[in-house]
């Protein structure tokens, strides 16, 4: 260990640097796409979970229990190996024209994360006094319109901190997609290691990149929360 020769140049320039960069880009892509989809799906599940229509509540509940109580890695394998069997042919054909590993990774990460996001959204919504919904309904807004104009704009401020957390988790969890061959950051760091035996340098680089991405997400969302959303005065 003491006479280990550090060779940082390997990951700061040249071919292996390019691999790390390409892995970083793939990580950003898979995370960004999954984050947007997971938020939208989470929103739908949260609204279904809270709706007055019993079947939709049950469907949401079953979905939540399944996704939150099974390991993400299993879910990734499930979608990677199993989607041919359960998805309609059209969907599979379309996924085939994309990058199939990437698509399976996105599906698994989206579904897994959406369950946690749904619960965060739900508790944010529940923290808004029920009188707000009554006031909105009294004015003739439907349930969904009340959510859209009155409840969600208030709840979003409460939802944002746990949401940042889920976004960060998702970015980190995306490393599991390497197991189905998505050439993201961890996968590429691993490649560099097996080609150069410079595992220490490779994974230090990967660590720093993950850290940087987490910081950027946290700062960006905080900025949005503070300056873009009009603050509710008082309250």
């Amino acid at each position: 260990m003491f006479n280990y020769q550090f060779d940082w140049a390997i990951v700061t320039s040249g071919k292996y640097f390019d691999w790390i960069v390409s892995g970083t880009i793939t990580t950003i892509q898979i995370s960004a796409v999954s984050i947007v989809l997971a938020f939208l799906l989470g929103l739908v599940v949260a609204v279904m979970r809270m709706s007055g229509f019993t079947p939709s509540r049950w469907a949401a509940l079953v979905f939540l229990e399944f996704t939150r109580n099974t390991p993400l890695l299993v879910q990734i394998f499930f979608w990677y190996f199993g989607s041919y069997k359960i998805l309609p042919t059209v969907v599979n054909d379309w996924l085939g024209t994309l990058n199939f590993e990437f698509a399976a990774g996105v599906i698994a990460l989206t579904i897994y994360t959406s369950a946690f996001i749904a619960e965060d959204i739900r508790s944010g919504i529940r923290s808004i006094p029920k009188e707000q919904m009554e006031a909105a309904r009294s004015a003739g807004f439907s349930y969904l319109r009340s959510m859209q104009y009155i409840i969600l704009p208030q709840a979003i401020r409460i939802i944002i901190p746990p949401l940042i957390n889920q976004f960060l988790n998702l970015t980190k969890n995306s490393s599991l997609a390497m197991t189905i061959g998505v050439a993201e950051l961890t996968y590429q760091a691993r490649q560099v290691e097996s080609y150069t035996f410079k595992g220490y340098e490779a994974f230090t680089a990967a660590t720093l990149v993950y850290l940087a991405m987490s910081l950027v997400i946290a700062i960006a969302v905080n900025f949005y929360n503070k300056y873009v959303l009009t603050p509710v005065r008082g309250r």
Binding site: E131, Q132, E134, A135, A136, R137, S138, A139, G140, F141, S142, R145, Y149, I150, P153, Q154, T230, V232, R233, G234, R235
Partner: protein, 244 residues
């Protein structure tokens, strides 16, 4: 305009509305009073179906509330509801509080909605607060904004559930004044209140409710001079006592 016939409602085992029969005509102001927990809020909330009824029939503006085909959102747009706790939207300015439903529910152009809102704010004496947020207003001001918000929908009926109960005494007058002015315009109003001064001056009729039963329904003068029912006498003694 509003007709309760044999209406019952239960909260589990609690019989909150017991054979309610009440008819409110167009342009009438009916005050509902009674002890706390007697079912006043429940009664007024059935009118826009914030609380569904369990038995009997309730016809509002020609629409049968027990008919599944009744478009409840459409009916609610015609009915203003003023809450004890105001329930303004805290994330929106006063102006937006007032214009939101006219724009999104009634599809009124933004400019027109804002003009209406401004003239309503003039009417309740709060134009200078149009860009303020609810948390920056006093209770009395918030309640006047809440009334303006309901009126912006050009409702056919206005419902008030203890609109002054959450207010400091010095602010009650300003809200009652707005309501009295509104009554003069011929608005159909149902008002739950303990403000007996308002009731005697403005109401056409008073309904006294106790334990979910409307025990007495009379003209204000008759109700105050000789309440028929013992419970009503007790109630009046309490709310009219100088300590109150």
């Amino acid at each position: 305009m509003i007709r309760f016939s044999g209406v019952h409602k239960w909260f589990r085992k609690l019989h909150v509305l017991n054979d309610v029969n009440l008819h409110v005509h167009q342009g009438e102001v009916v005050v509902v009073c009674g002890p706390s927990g007697s079912g006043k809020s429940t009664l007024i909330r059935t009118i826009n179906q914030l609380e569904p009824i369990d038995r009997g029939s309730l016809i509002v503006d020609g629409m049968d509330l027990s008919d599944r085909k009744t478009d409840i959102n459409k009916l609610r747009a015609e009915i203003g509801f003023v809450f004890q706790q105001f329930n303004l939207y805290p994330h929106l300015s006063v102006l937006k509080n007032i214009t939101l439903a006219p724009i999104k529910v009634r599809n009124i152009p933004k400019k027109e909605a804002e003009e209406t809102a401004t003239s309503l704010l003039e009417r309740v004496g709060l134009v200078e607060k149009r860009d303020a947020y609810p948390a920056q207003l006093s209770g009395g001001q918030q309640q006047r904004v809440a009334i303006a918000r309901s009126l912006a929908m050009k409702p056919k009926i206005m419902l008030f559930d203890e609109p002054t109960s959450a207010l400091d005494p010095e602010m009650i007058g300003e809200v009652l004044q707005v309501m009295q002015d509104l009554a003069k315009t011929g608005m159909t109003m149902v008002v739950v209140t303990h403000e007996m001064g308002f009731a005697s001056e403005v109401a056409h009729r008073i309904a006294f409710i106790d334990n979910g039963i409307i025990l007495e329904e009379a003209k204000p003068a008759d109700f105050f001079k000789n309440p028929q029912h013992e419970r009503a006498q007790q109630f009046l003694k309490q709310v009219l006592s100088p300590m109150h």
